[in-house]
Amino acid sequence: MEEKNLELIIKEIWPRLKKKHLYPEIPVPKVRRTSHPKEGEAEEDEGVGLEMKQKQMTIHAGFVSQMKDKMEEKRVVEALLDHGVTHYTFCPWDFHTHLRLYSEAKKVVGDKELAKQVSNRFIDVIADTHCVKKRCTEIPELHRNLEKGTIEEVIASLYQKIWGIDLGISASKKSVKGHADIVRRLARIPYLDRSRWGESIRKFARSLKPLLVEEQKQQGGKESRGEHNPQGEHDLNRYSNEEIDQGLRDYARQTLDLSEFKDVLEDFSDELTGAGYGREGGMGRGHGNPLDADVLFYMKLAENYSIPVKKVPLEKKGSLHPYSHSPWEIGSPFQEVDIWTSFGKIMPGITQVWTKREGKGRGKIEGTPDSLIAIDSSGSMINPRKSLSYAVLGAACAANAYLQNGSKVAVYNFSDAPMGGKEILNYTDRREDIYRVLCKYFGGGTALDLEDLMPLIQGRKNLDLFIITDMKITNLEALIGFFSQIQNRMTTVHIGDNPYAARFEKAVEGQKNISIYTVKRKEDIPHIVLGRIKDYFNSTSRK
């Protein structure tokens, strides 16, 4: 009965609420029944009014019913939804911002749990303040009626000061009086200035830290009150997997600091594992291995760069030709649409596409060959698990480029290969495996064992070679000799300038199948064109 009533309330206020928040793309909120725990057991989400999973907001009927005596149900629901919607429309907005705020808070408080509490409270203050300033909301009334601990009283006292609305917190109250300096410090923060959120959360954390530490001591490891936030928890459940992917990508690009990325990722490892990270599959999700923060860092960072691969004519038994029609579906490519039988319309049910079949003749079509990536992980290279390695980033971008074109990649990671300092991965399209071998660091001398390379090259007419090294290779002459014998397209990337690289460049300058690039900064990586051959013209582009 209670739930039905709440559903009716939501049905009534939701259109107005959406309009008020300028029509965010959020589904109609749901209502969660009151669970009746067994005797002696505490209710799981006691005191929580709102739950946010991906974009679905759920109102807890139990909370609304608790508040019924103090505040009209409709007003409670509106206040909770105003708060929830503002998290999507203003702060934190996306997962990247959430991570950034958390990492700034962690720098100040040092502790994972405290940092989560600080960032959650900061996000709430911003959301509520934004609502109070920009929208007509019941949030102040909700705060007036919520039960409060010491920190909540300090925050309510802050609201009184910065909103200029009486929330029933008396300045003479002992708990508030003793923390007047904290409220004064908190009140000076420009909460609504997005560009200053980084420095603002540091100041927020600095001011609130003594109270949080005190609360943590009092709780003695038990769940703090902050973990039952009436306005909803701020865990990763709020974000979709795509948002998490994008957030990690942006965070890796912006920090460029492996240790910071690892630190934050480890703090969220439980939630990320829950979201499917650290397992095999696309975008770092699927089943299998434990979460490897280093691998994920390079994976996400490499996704920010796109390196083009020049296609080559690949020999096939026959070319494809239109064979029969099939209905077009939304999301299918337009290139295959038969405009004559579709009457010039793009509409499911009317539009038809050609289904192609391979013919019997022999011909040449363009395609991307498989690739062998050789990466130097000797002592003169940066350890990719300690700091950002451009070699691994470059190799990762190259691997991505081939995989995205449906090709397979083999990896030869070498240091002092004849002495066993090597790891070989055969041709595969499993991204995680490739990244794991790329991130391996031996840190010894530098020598290639050509015997290792032969089985990977032999019998593959169409194969691209990609080698990334600082060229300080002891058997460089042997390598130059080997390269002069093979006709495969070769992309050679050397990290930084040195006499060995100059020697290599001079030795292979006459070979048209070898392209050489220098990477000194991360910005150099997109300039690499894989498999580019000097004076390259293929049969199809000659038309």
């Binding site: 008020k20 300028l22 720098k107 910065i162 410090r185 000076r188 100041k203």
Partner: protein
């Protein structure tokens, strides 16, 4: 009579099209624009920004006058002169202890304050503390990457300055009866030339501690790396009196 109105264009448009043309497609959204409230927060943030600008301006003037080439040597007369200039600008500003803390952090932000020269910066912060309205000042500087030199210079009687974090060289020099507490470490020349008052360093302290001090007390919670030539006053290391007392060679690491 000629009409002053310009002739209607496209008068042969169909009524539907005319309506469509005349109607602003965003008209409906006008009703959604709720005027943003003026919250006290705006006023608070605005006024703290204005004060910060004044404090920053004073610091820039100090640099202009005392560190023209962006070079500043720590010498008795340069310190005295820089402090006089700092006093002149600080006296004109109405600020609080929180503004002083914000200024310390703003100094690390090169976009806001391009030149951080540790000597004048420390003298300027000391002047700000000495002329602040509050008797007790707390500066939470533990995440500050730079250790501020000369902090607590000439701290007068009746003032208590507590610093969370570490401080640099010349902490609390020329103390004039104030009470200086550093929750972390302090570097060399702490309390040099102090005349009275109390310095409490909760962790360790560097060399030349109390050089030429004329009075007052220095308490160190950790180790004293070396004492200076002390004229008068007391130095305690972990509650034990180390000066006057068992003679120690100045600046000897023990």
């Amino acid at each position: 009579m000629k009409s002053s109105l310009p002739p209607k264009k496209n008068s042969n448009l169909s009524p539907d099209k005319e309506n469509w043309k005349a109607k602003n497609p965003f008209e409906e959204f006008k009703t959604l624009a709720t005027p943003a409230l003026n919250l006290p927060m705006d006023q608070i943030v605005q006024s703290s920004e204005a004060i910060m600008d004044r404090i920053r301006w004073g610091y820039e003037k100090l640099l202009e006058e005392e560190a023209k080439e962006l070079v500043w040597m720590v010498q008795y007369n340069t310190i005295i002169k820089a402090y006089e200039v700092a006093e002149k600008y600080v006296k004109e500003i109405d600020y609080t202890a929180e503004d002083v803390e914000d200024f310390c952090f703003a100094m690390e932000n090169t976009q806001r304050i391009p030149y951080l020269i540790p000597g004048p910066a420390g003298i300027y912060i000391s002047a700000l503390c000495n002329y602040a309205k509050e008797e007790e000042i707390l500066l939470k500087l533990s995440e500050l990457k730079t250790e501020i030199n000369l902090i607590g210079f000439r701290l007068p009687r009746g003032k208590r300055l507590r610093i969370e974090g570490d401080t640099g060289d010349f902490t609390g020099i020329g103390l004039e009866g104030g009470d200086l507490v550093v929750e972390g470490n302090a570097k060399n020349w702490t309390g040099a030339g102090m005349r009275g008052g109390k310095i409490l360093i909760k962790k360790n302290i560097g060399l030349h501690t109390g050089e030429w001090m004329m009075g007052g007390e220095i308490y160190v919670g950790g180790r004293v790396r070396g004492l200076g030539n002390i004229v008068e006053g007391k130095v305690y290391e972990r509650d034990k009196l180390v000066y006057p007392g068992k003679a120690r060679y100045p600046n000897l690491y023990y």
